[in-house]
């Protein structure tokens, strides 16, 4: 084990996994309960939530949700997200088209913000979650601390992807001067919202504790 991992190990409970102590932590209220065992374990004595030693089916569900997000990311980018008309001349714009327009018109700041929120962040999430899933499947023990940080980063930045949806919602609500200038959301933004939602769900379904599991099956 390299130095980083040793440092990580040192921060964690030296006793390793809670299961080995016969404990299981409630996902909802965080109460450490005694692990009774069996498939259908007893619920949490405090909040009556079901108790699991790990999130059930975590890897598969994360994979599925991530894949869903990835699939939806295509129409989200290809389809127009907003229709705006000014003085009778209407046009539909996609996310990338909007970024290009902003960039071409010199609004580099806005272009960068939108690019970050709508392209960089979702792609980063796909990449990070995908990487984490693969690493977990392979039970790769090296770089586990770095992966843990990446996961926390993913959870943290995930919400900001909704920026685009917010922008469209705001503009559509504010720019309503019928006959002169209107803005309407288009189907693309629904897909984009779904992408953000599914990546958030995927991040939620991913149980970071799996990162630390040792190759027990080996």
């Amino acid at each position: 084990m390299d130095a980083e991992n040793r440092k990580g190990e040192a921060r964690m409970t030296p006793a390793g996994q809670a299961l080995s102590l016969g404990l299981v932590r409630c996902h909802v209220c965080g109460l450490a309960c005694e692990h009774v065992g069996g498939v259908h374990a007893l619920p949490c004595p405090r909040c009556h939530a079901p108790l699991h030693t790990r999130l059930p089916d975590s890897l598969t569900q994360t994979w599925a949700l991530l894949l869903t997000g990835l699939l939806l990311y295509l129409p989200a980018n290809l389809l127009p997200v907003m229709y705006n008309s000014f003085a009778g001349r209407g046009s539909e714009s996609t996310i990338l088209g909007g970024i290009a327009v902003f960039w071409a018109s010199g609004s580099y700041g806005i272009a960068i913000v939108i690019f970050t929120a709508s392209v960089l962040v979702p792609c980063a999430k796909f990449g990070i979650l995908g990487g984490l899933l693969i690493a977990t499947k392979r039970r790769d023990v090296s770089g586990r601390v770095r992966r843990s940080r990446l996961f926390r980063l993913t959870e943290h930045i995930g919400y900001w992807s909704m920026l685009d949806v917010m922008v469209v919602a705001l503009i559509a609500a504010l720019v309503q001067f019928p006959g002169f200038s209107t803005a309407e959301p288009r189907i693309g933004i629904v897909f984009f919202g779904a992408v953000v939602m599914f990546t958030l769900l995927a991040a939620m379904k991913f149980d970071p504790r799996l990162l630390w599991e040792n190759n027990k099956h080996e």
Binding site: P56, D57, L65, T68, L72, P75, S91, F198
Partner: protein
């Protein structure tokens, strides 16, 4: 580490869960496929249209509309390879793919302001769009040449199209209205030079139900402009509507004798007359070409000048040329006429009917007329402008002229005449007047007048005072005489005395006559002599 190995709790119960969660990406994939299919299904063919200019067009924004329904979108606008035109690529929708026929027409709808009206006002705000009118061809097309101006004729409009042939276009334009009893019933849809270059054929479209008024005998005339005429009835101003005066127009009417005539078929050809009277006039028939050779100058003669025969306007001058006659080294004006014998009206019925060899017969007939004194003259129709017209008339005592039966066109001998004679006489008169020594006459007259003036001064200065003096003296004398002559003046007394003396003397002389001896003897007693 052996503690971790003990219970493998959650490994066993994986049977249904995986399949359930994979439904989510499957649904997403299905949605994506569905969208893709939608996209593919709704995208029709791509067509490219060339325009002169891309003014108002924007790639990705400009729409293509048919009957005001959006059926496509401009995808790209590039210059044509030779940079002469603009190449507009349009992606049509799936439901519009059968609109792109080989003869489908595309044009850009922009705001247009013309004399006839304003169109495309809605595009002021929304921007230009491409409109299309689907064709009738069976084949579909992918490359089109866009029209620069909107067509006036949209396929499928009820009505009929006719062709009107005119000498020139006049002020007509595409979109000029066609009037029937001053109701706009159609418009000019297109025009083109005739293939032989002689004249213009104008395509007009008459809307239903007015198209049924166009019958084979319908007359069309150019209703543009103002017809101002001054004749014995006074000043007459005839126009169609003001719109047609400004924008040009065509009017048509049916001759009164052609009621209940069947409607003309689509694409019938008509003749466009210059104005209503000539349109409604009886048909002229075939013209007879005549040629005149004038020795005189024909200043004021114009093509189109009337040819009159016994006050009937028989035709017009079609050409004026110069010819050179080497024998006399003279230039001769050659005037070509078009004469319509039909305009003679009923007289024609009394003339010999044309037979097979009409040309020959006409020549013979004309020769007879010439032998009886038919001559052509260029006469002045208007003294102010000096415009000439050709007068065909019988000149009594005209010098006989040989008539060439074989000449084509037929030649009518001419007479220098009319105003020219008068002109010559006036010129001679003026020449004589100019020869008179007006200057010396004037000088003499001037000297005489000077002398007279001097004489008058003398009279005033010297003769008049003397005269006045003389008159005064005369007056005095008269006064003196008057004094002498008053009733008891010594003169009168003297005269009375003298009278008495004379009486006595007469008595004496009488006595002496009768008794001369009385002078010696004295007076005898004479009984007769009793005073």
């Amino acid at each position: 580490m052996s503690d971790y190995d003990s219970p493998p709790p959650e490994v066993i119960p994986r049977r249904l869960r995986p399949s359930l969660i994979w439904l989510v990406p499957a649904a997403a994939a299905l949605t994506g496929l569905f969208l893709l299919h939608q996209l593919w299904a709704s995208s029709g063919p791509e067509v490219s249209i060339t325009f002169q200019t891309a003014s108002g067009l924007q790639a990705g924004k400009t729409e293509v509309k048919y009957k005001d329904v959006t059926v496509g979108l401009v995808k790209s606008i590039v210059l044509s390879p030779d940079s002469q035109r603009v190449l507009v690529t349009v992606s049509l929708m799936k439901n519009a793919e059968n609109l792109a026929k080989a003869d489908t027409r595309f044009w850009v709808v922009r705001p247009r302001v013309g004399i006839g009206g304003i169109s495309g006002i809605d595009t002021l705000l929304s921007g230009a769009y491409i409109s299309l009118d689907t064709g009738t061809s069976k084949q579909s097309g992918t490359t089109f040449t866009g029209l620069e101006s909107p067509p006036t004729l949209i396929n499928g409009m009820p009505g009929k199209q006719f062709e009107v042939v005119a000498d020139d276009l006049g002020s007509l334009d595409i979109g000029s209205a066609v009037y029937y009893r001053r109701i706009p019933v159609g418009r000019v849809s297109s025009y083109a030079l005739r293939p032989d270059g002689k004249g213009v054929s104008v395509n007009i479209f008459i809307d239903a139900p007015y198209d049924r008024f166009v019958t084979p005998s319908t007359r069309f005339w150019n209703a543009s402009g103002v017809d101002l005429s001054l004749n014995s009835d006074g000043l007459q101003l005839k126009t169609q509507t003001m719109a047609s005066v400004i924008a040009g127009g065509i009017a048509f009417a049916n001759p009164p004798d052609s009621v209940n005539a069947p409607s003309s078929a689509d694409h019938s050809v008509f003749r466009l007359a210059d104005d209503q009277p000539s349109a409604m006039a009886p048909q002229d028939g075939t013209p007879q070409i005549l040629q005149l050779r004038f020795q005189q100058s024909l200043r004021g003669m114009q093509t189109g000048a009337p040819v009159e025969f016994s006050s009937v306007k028989l035709g017009k001058v079609t050409a004026i040329d110069l010819d050179f006659e080497p024998s006399g080294s003279r230039f001769i004006s050659v005037v070509t006429l078009e004469v319509y014998p039909n305009r003679l009206g009923r007289v024609l019925e009394k003339l010999p009917k044309p037979e097979k060899d009409g040309e020959k017969q006409a020549a013979v007939f004309l020769r007879d007329l010439v032998q009886h004194g038919l001559r052509a003259q260029a006469r002045t129709g208007n003294l102010l402008t000096g415009q000439l017209y050709i007068s065909l008339d019988f000149i009594p005592n005209a010098a006989p002229v040989a008539f060439d039966l074989s000449a084509r066109p037929l030649r009518i001998p001419t007479l220098n005449g009319g105003f020219d004679h008068l002109q010559e006489q006036v010129a001679t008169l003026i020449g004589k007047v100019s020869k008179m020594p007006i200057e010396s006459i004037g000088n003499n007259l001037n000297a005489t007048l000077g002398n007279l003036n001097q004489t008058l001064i003398q009279v005033n200065g010297q003769v008049l005072p003397q005269t006045i003096q003389t008159l005064r003296q005369l007056d005095q004398t008269m006064n003196g005489a008057q004094r002498l002559l008053v009733a008891d003046s010594p003169l009168l007394q003297t005269l009375a005395e003298f009278q008495r003396t004379l009486y006595s003397l007469r008595t004496l002389t009488g006595l002496l006559t009768r008794q001369p001896q009385a002078l010696l003897t004295g007076r005898l007693n004479d009984p007769k002599e009793k005073p």
